[in-house]
Symmetry: C2
Subunit: 141 residues, 2 copies
């Protein structure tokens, strides 16, 4: 009667490949799901959102550890708010930094395309844009 689904269905619904889902389970991003009699995983509806979140966060370049932290924030709503705050703040500044640099790159690629339309890219400055210090927020790591 439950609307639990097999791993293949979850995969199709989220765009995350089956082996990747198993991998996420093995590194603790996804919880160990219940199993059928024949030892097959099946998942409740909340797994879909969790998995989509993981996928987007990965595409945006967050590492598994950071994602685990973000997930923990929503898993344990009543937990120490200070820890959550610190984690969130760290991620926020990282996010802002990325947006800034992506926008610089966006502007320059756009400029390149404009000049390209005029038939030349002879003064291409892609390198310049992202190499200059102004754009560097220097977040260590």
């Amino acid at each position: 009667m439950s609307k639990e689904v097999a791993i293949g269905v979850l995969s199709r619904e989220t765009g995350v490949k089956v082996p990747t889902i198993r991998y996420y389970e093995s590194v603790g991003l996804m919880p160990q799901p219940s199993r059928t009699e024949a030892n097959r995983r099946h998942y409740g509806p909340e797994a879909v959102n969790r998995l989509r979140f993981i996928r987007h966060a990965r595409e945006l370049g967050f590492e598994v550890d950071a994602i685990r932290q973000l997930l923990d924030l929503s898993d344990q709503p009543e937990r120490s708010c200070k820890a959550a705050d610190a984690i969130a703040r760290r991620h926020l500044s990282e996010i802002k930094s990325r947006i800034t640099r992506l926008r610089a790159l966006e502007r320059e690629v756009q400029r390149m395309l404009a000049e390209c339309a005029c038939g030349r890219i002879s003064d291409c400055r892609v390198i310049d844009v992202l190499s200059h210090h102004e754009h560097c927020l220097h977040h260590g790591k």
Copy 2:
């Protein structure tokens, strides 16, 4: 009389580790530099910008192959403008997509922080934000 520098100096000036510079050389992102009599690499000033560019681009999540393409754009200014245009266009839409999703994440983390300041994160919706389809630009890959 030249102001060529050793790999260690280049490393310090760019924040890219020595082994990583050698790795970039091995995969063709950095050109093979000239060597001293004792077989040590040394680099001209243009290497600094190129390396900084590579570093930023990598931090922003572009893969080595994409970076190579972008670098080729500026390396061969007189080459087929059509190819350049196509490559640039592809990267531009990828860049835009990332900015959009990062902004969605930024908004939500910011909202979380605001609520956190009020002493609760009980309705934390980090997962919701990045799992919903609206934010998904579905760029295949």
